[in-house]
Symmetry: C2
Subunit: 156 residues, 2 copies
DNA sequence: AGATTGTCAGTAATGATTCTCAATAAGAAT
DNA sequence: ATTCTTATTGAGAATCATTACTGACAATCT
């Protein structure tokens, strides 16, 4: 598979190198419909390269985000979004789940805002944080700090 | 000054209490045009109440956010936004500065998106990351990892 | 006043993220 | 193909923001 073929020129243009680890990380995020945490990506890459370290995953994901290949998604735990196109991420504060909602109007909003301020946009983050329908249905458990631990190990 | 007068009914309605510490925290965030980190608020409150602990500041800010009085702003370090109304935050990757750009259409976008997904919104993050006009004029410096450490101590 | 319940300070604990640095390997040049 | 330069890797320790916990204290109600 050549899904990462486009990586080469991008990295070379920056004096960067194409390594097997980076290809594995790339494939673990780009095109995924989930929003993997660093921990999840780490586990996936580990299946092929048992010796990779977390630091490598962290820095590589950061690099890809700089290149605009993926988007960081905030929350208690950092996640990555490998989908193309602007969209809103709904982040559940209780379960940590993330849902995408595309909206064509976002592009226009972005252009308009950036232009007005003379700002050179590299990446965008549109997020709504709150409670997802499923968690709301489960009743109002403890307040905001209900489900917390080991969130990094799950996907969203 | 009575800026926090509205606090009383809000807190009482929840079985909460109005304390001097909470008033101080309130005044350190609401109406500010900056986006203070928890650390900044902590320092400000400490000037008046040298004995407050970080835990108090954390939980109180969380409480205010739940009440909708302020908005959490995610990132490497948690910040709070005391301004009313949705707006886009332009975050400069080089100098770390944050600029607000209000846009009335955001509210509608938010409502529409949340409704479609049955999502209960608690806070929103509309951010454009890139290079601000001032930094662009200064020419191209280092990459994303330029300004980083002790971010919690600075404002934005 | 006494009872009840919410809040505080202080501090330990937690856990995600980043750093350090020697060893390795990618890409360019020969 | 071999060598050279330098980005990248890995392993673990270190950092730092955020939470949890606990005993003391204070506000409100009866």
């Amino acid at each position: 598979m050549e899904t990462w073929a486009g990586l080469r020129p991008l990295l070379h243009g920056r004096g960067g190198r194409v390594t097997p680890q980076r290809m594995a990380i790339y494939e673990a995020v780009v095109g995924q419909t989930t929003h993997p945490s660093v921990e999840t990506v780490y586990a996936a890459v580990r299946a092929r390269f048992p010796s990779v370290s977390r630091a490598t995953v962290y820095t590589t994901l950061g690099l890809f985000a700089d290149l605009g290949l993926i988007q960081e998604v905030g929350g208690r735990v950092r996640r990555y979004d490998g989908r193309a196109g602007r969209h809103v991420n709904l982040v559940c504060e209780r379960c940590g789940g993330v849902t995408d909602v595309a909206d064509p109007r976002l592009e226009a909003l972005e252009r308009r805002t950036a232009l007005r301020a003379g700002f050179d946009v590299r990446s965008a983050r549109f997020e709504l944080h709150g409670i997802c329908p499923r968690c709301r249905a489960l009743g109002r458990g403890a307040g905001r700090r209900a489900v917390r631990r080991t969130e990094a190990a799950r996907d969203a």
